[in-house]
Symmetry: C2
Subunit: 478 residues, 2 copies
């Protein structure tokens, strides 16, 4: 269930750790505005009362009142008599982070989505899958576990990757997001601890939170997992589940060394922590790396999530869960309750794609590699102060900004009709203002236009390190 | 989140109101077995301890121990040392009520699903929708609200039915089940009261429960809604939401008179109760009735759920929510978190179907009408003691049994390879043992075979009215 109201503490947590600059009411209004623009404060959520927020932050009620009035003037807040102040995520804001924009947008350049257009040949695969449709049209069309023919292909794909798998270990879902909701709904109870990477994929964090879990973070080092550190975090937090994106990590593009896998797995086994491994981007190895054996090869209890959305196309809403047999029936029950089953034709299409029919994944990789290198080049030239590492896989750059400016930059970019996902969206509990995720999946000319707008937005923001002597009426530390 | 363990009180509630017959341990085991076979006790749920159940039911611990041992012998229970007794819904049980069976079943006749095979011409609609696919293949494929072209068709369909609707009032979902999950996830908080009909559609009851709602029941009279009674229930319970299936009600096939609608709507408005109107079966009017104006015509705040699964085919996993504009953004946010969006081609197919292309709904109706009359005839001849009303629409008969035998019958039928949904599955809180839902969507020869097996199972059960003088060690009244 979505949170539809916010406590003073909740908002305090979202506002981050910078001091308020003078005039405080305006800075507070700006920060709340960034949260709305960035999708961290969603439409129609109720803000804390002036009195509560002032008390939580230790500032005057007049400051909060001034900030709320300004937000109402700007159209980001709707006061409703007797009911409180409600966020308005207007038509020019994204509403839900990575997920938007709503389909009616036109002039925007979208660097919030990491999802390319469909590859050549996909429409032909749809067409050929129609030949198999008559065989299923005679049935009622439901099947919460998924068509056997698709599950066979998925199982074979795991087998080729060094992880023997039977078709009855697979549950087909509507993409990996749906798969994660099914897993969380089956295994988690309110208050269970779930270990996540920080940063991580925001929609995964949201889904886990929605299931009532308490997220604990493993701060991912700049160059990827440091296994002894990961093991320490596991030991100290003894989480129920550990959510991992071992290749290619979203947003950083890191992958977990094959040599590191047994040790990491052993750490999870010691605390009887169930691993939930998101492999959505595993096919997107951009530098000719040798495929690694799936993490589940060392973790018989792990649940592995896969998807056709990234290797093939986002408009194919088919994903799956690979799980130990003992969990399958419970997963199918949860899944059925959510939406009864996946569409028949889409399943036939994905079965063909996994069988190697029609779409060349290597061509997908090659296109992604060129786009990646193009975006890295553009950024290096136009924004030389930014740190722009080249990821080994996936669809996104995770760039370092020379200041805690990510939210401000996202808000400024919006005024240039450029959609960004600010760094904090990728963290379970604050942080991230020094980073920005930039997908390289948009067409070439969009990338060029995007970097132009990015540079203009950056000029608007500048580097806002706190100046010495700046008035700090209070300090938001969480 | 699914409940994965059961308190003594929970199980007490499920066991119903009959007295235990001698020998008590065996009767208790049988009743628990019915709950498993029927999908009311799901796979892997933990039963209460012997001590707790004995105490709740006021019987000896030896009786409970005997029942659990018998269930373990029969393979319905797995004791795990130190962890408790866990339900095993074996491969011959359905696991999730209406939703099963798992796709590997072969010899079963399935009267648990109310879903016919696809109509003639559907594969051609798929084929022609491919012509529009290239236009969307160039995009990223995501769009949590749904394709504009589909939303336009859905909006027009409401308009034709006397309910003017704009495309931006529609959110496309993966079927009506997914739509209800989105609505519940957006509007309900734990503990909110939701008024439901008793009986009602089991998967809807499950989804509402899963969202943390407390279900309160309006006992639907034998001949459909009695509006003053409904209004009294609304006034007394002042629920947050009211879930309604006004035409054609699942499982009874009733419809709500157009004259009754304004009064019923007024009752809901007085308590500021939001109506959630499931219109999944609205196109299935089988007796040439004049279409009624949707209930939302009298309730501007209502949310209406629709689906392509019943009017067209269950393998099309496309449904939608029609909602007031003020709620759309929040609904889209919740929806995006569940699964990001609906598949592109399926949306194009349903847009064509709603535009009247390729599939003749009147032919669907005509087929359903013949099947209905055929099943009514078979039952009247073979099971003359049963009360078999002829519903005006929908896909199911709601037959009256001459005794509180529905669960026993479903369990007996399973031994004849016939899947049934026992009456209690359709009630939010017990009751229903005198009713059975029988879908008439299976092919004609399946219906004939089904009624044969039904008659044999009925002979196994007989009418089990409590005999005078039967030992009643305790009385399960809830």
């Amino acid at each position: 269930m979505a949170t539809r109201w916010l406590s003073g503490q909740d908002l305090h947590g979202l506002l981050g750790t910078l001091p308020l600059q003078f005039p405080a009411y305006q800075d507070l209004a700006d920060r709340i505005r960034y949260l709305v623009v960035d999708g961290r404060l969603v439409h129609d959520v109720r803000l804390p009362s002036e009195r509560e927020l002032a008390s939580t932050l230790g500032i005057s009620r007049a400051t909060v009142a001034g900030a709320y009035a300004r937000l109402a003037d700007l159209g980001f807040l709707v006061p409703r008599r007797g009911a409180g102040n409600f966020v308005r995520a207007g038509p020019t804001t994204r509403g839900n982070g990575l997920v938007g924009p709503y389909p009616d947008f036109t002039d925007l350049v979208n660097l919030a989505f990491a999802s390319p257009p469909a590859p050549a040949g996909l429409d032909e695969v749809y067409r050929s899958a129609l030949d198999e449709l008559p065989a299923v049209l005679g049935g009622h069309g439901y099947g919460p576990q998924g068509l056997v023919s698709l599950r066979e292909q998925v199982a074979a794909w795991y087998g080729e990757r060094g992880l023997p798998t039977a078709p009855d270990q697979i549950v087909v879902t509507n993409g990996a997001q749906s798969a994660l909701n099914v897993v969380a709904g089956t295994l988690l109870r309110t208050g269970d601890r779930v270990l996540v990477e920080a940063p991580s994929y925001p929609n995964a964090l949201d889904a886990l939170r929605r299931s009532g879990a308490r997220l604990v973070a493993y701060p991912l080092p700049e160059d990827g997992w440091q296994v002894s550190g990961y093991a320490t975090t596991v030991r100290q937090t003894a989480p129920r589940l550990a959510h991992l994106i071992p290749e290619f990590h979203n947003p950083t593009g890191h992958w977990l060394d094959e040599e590191a896998r047994p040790e990491l797995a052993a750490a999870l086994r010691r605390t009887r922590t169930t691993a939930v491994v998101d492999e959505t981007l595993v096919e997107l190895r951009l530098d000719g790396q040798h495929p690694r054996r799936p993490l589940a090869a060392w973790l018989p209890d792990a649940l592995t999530l896969g998807s056709a959305s990234k290797a093939f196309w986002g408009g194919l809403r088919i994903g799956w869960i690979r799980a130990p047999r003992v969990l399958i029936r419970s997963l199918v029950q949860t899944r059925a309750l959510l939406d009864l089953g996946s569409p028949a034709l889409e399943q036939l299409v994905v079965a063909r794609l996994l069988a190697g029919s029609g779409v060349d994944v290597e061509e997908q990789r090659s296109r992604a590699r060129m786009q990646r290198d193009h975006l890295v080049g553009l950024l290096t030239r136009r924004l030389p102060d930014w740190r722009v590492p080249t990821p080994g896989g996936g669809f996104t750059l995770w760039v370092g900004l020379p200041g805690e400016t990510s939210s401000r930059l996202a808000a400024a970019a919006e005024r240039h009709d450029l959609l960004l996902s600010a760094g904090p969206r990728f963290f379970p509990d604050g942080g991230g203002e020094r980073h920005l995720r930039l997908p390289f999946t948009a067409p070439r000319q969009h990338l060029e236009e995007a970097v132009e707008r990015l540079a203009r937005a950056w000029a608007d923001v500048g580097v806002s390190s706190p100046r010495p002597g700046t008035r700090r009426p209070w300090d938001l530390s969480v």
